[in-house]
Assembly symmetry: C2
Homo-oligomer: 285 residues x 2
DNA sequence: CTGCGACGATACCCGTGGGGTATGGGGGAG
DNA sequence: CTCCCCCATACCCCACGGGTATCGTCGCAG
């Protein structure tokens, strides 16, 4: 009898819903694996835990006993976790994100991470667009949720997602109606660009692989202004509302922008490691 | 923080041994996965649980807290299992085995199964050699630990092991000194054989694929007598002491004898299912 | 100082199990 | 009788947990 808490969580969900489908939804999984897990639990227990009939699902007497035990165990397990994290004391984790154009899921990630690690004070530090590492090397940032590519020496980088990119244009631009563009279509235009000294990989990517002329920007708002006022163009993400008077046309010959989580190589702080795990898991879902 | 009991068992083992290698041995696993599991636990916890130094392994203050919590949880989990099985009430499971030539691990299996399911009364019913299903179809046997091949219609069969076989000979037989034999070497001999009506697959296997002449046997002891008194031969398992005056020479052209666990197809009794699982697990180890 | 042994960490591979989707089947309601 | 609801089954696939081999480090002995 090797009970596992995950199985008990499944069992409690079914026992409370008395409906496999709803329990599965509550557990954010599909119904068949749940049925299978319960059946396996019944096998281990050596007794049926639920009475399945056309009238529905009902707990057997053995199931009633297990339900009480399982709830107790799960409560205590939660308490144990809380006590342990309390013993670990408070801690601070500073996460860098990439300005307002950064990952839109960052807030969701921070929330879920805080829920899982209530003892950790998570500080989010927004960097401008011109530093893809968000000051990871120099500053107090412990981990960054940012975008590739950049110079990764001394850092660990793990890709979590890739987003398609497009050209940011004025809505009245001659090219604005096109379904898709190539970099060649934008030849000769002024591009908004990043300050000198910015990571070369980073510049090269957002400039479509070529040096560009045009106004220097440090934040998304400046990009918008540059396009609106000067008619410059530039690369941005598709799928978000570009704002009044602007439009985004997919660039068909540019590699998607890779969202990554990065941290200092050889980092030993478990907080950083757990944040990285959470970030990867959050993006997988 | 999604604690799992297995991880806590690992943690407790390391915390008690203060030595990853010994803890791994106690857990019957190798050391690297254990190190990894502990590291992952530390990551989830957001704190180091052990202080690794050249002096050895020591618990951190957080580890001390978790150790107390973990022991408590594991104890309660064990209790929960006991209460549940108690609630399930007593039950009877009848297991058929294949006479004294059956699986030598059957006793071990029965012991471990009884330990895991103390509420189940396990009755072991020894069949003769002439019924590979041990009366599973007709009789009160719920599951059988036997050997293939036999007619499996209406039964579920799962192989758990395969044993090499050899020829059972008198120690003074001219062939007794050989390191290995083929079926051709035994051509023309009388073989001990099974009664008429015995499962044809079964007969065919033990007779080396050919009809044989010779005395009928129903138990291992009769096989020994047939060989000792009449100079007949037959197929048996290698690796067990054949008894005084007898010897076993490996048969190089016979397929190994497959140990299987079998039960009635469509069986719903969780006891039977759990026994099958236990049997498979026991033989895997 | 250097070779060696002990021990935990790392790298890598593989099989299983737990997750998914698609489908079956049985039992009520209309 | 047909449809629908709902749990079970069948099948696939990837992640993870397990394994072996090897490394890095540190203490110790010669």
């Amino acid at each position: 009898m090797e009970l596992e808490l995950r199985t008990l969580r499944y069992f409690v969900a079914v026992a409370e819903e008395l409906h496999f489908g709803r329990a599965a939804a509550r557990l954010r999984m599909s119904q068949p694996p749940l049925s299978r897990a319960i059946k396996r639990l019944e096998t281990e227990a050596g007794a049926l835990l639920f009475e399945r009939s056309s009238a529905g699902v009902a707990l057997t007497p053995v199931g009633v006993v297990l339900l009480a035990e399982a709830r107790d165990l799960l409560d205590r397990a939660g308490l144990a976790g809380t006590r342990m994290t309390a013993a670990a004391g408070r801690a601070v984790l500073t996460v860098g994100i990439l300005g307002d154009s950064g990952d839109p899921d960052a807030a969701r990630l921070a929330r879920s991470y805080r829920a899982r690690h209530p003892h950790v004070e998570v500080r989010v530090r927004e960097a401008g667009l011109s530093d893809p590492t968000c000051g990871l090397r120099a500053g107090p940032v412990d981990a960054a949720l940012t975008r590739a590519p950049f110079d990764g020496t001394g850092l660990e980088v793990r890709e979590v997602r890739a987003d398609p990119v497009g050209a940011l244009l004025r809505a009245d631009d001659p090219l604005a109606g096109r379904a898709g563009l190539t970099l060649a279509d934008l030849a000769g235009r002024d591009w908004f660009r990043f300050p000198d000294g910015t990571d070369p990989h980073w510049q090269s990517y957002w400039h479509g692989g070529r040096p560009r002329r045009g106004p220097v920007v440090r934040a998304v708002q400046e990009c918008r202004q540059a396009v609106l006022w000067n008619g410059t163009v530039g690369v941005t993400l598709v799928g978000h509302d570009p704002g009044e008077g602007l439009t985004v046309v997919p660039l068909t010959d540019m590699a998607p922008s890779r969202v990554v989580v990065t941290w200092r190589a050889g980092e030993t702080d478990p907080l950083v490691r757990s944040f990285v795990r959470a970030a990867i898991a959050a993006h997988r879902a």
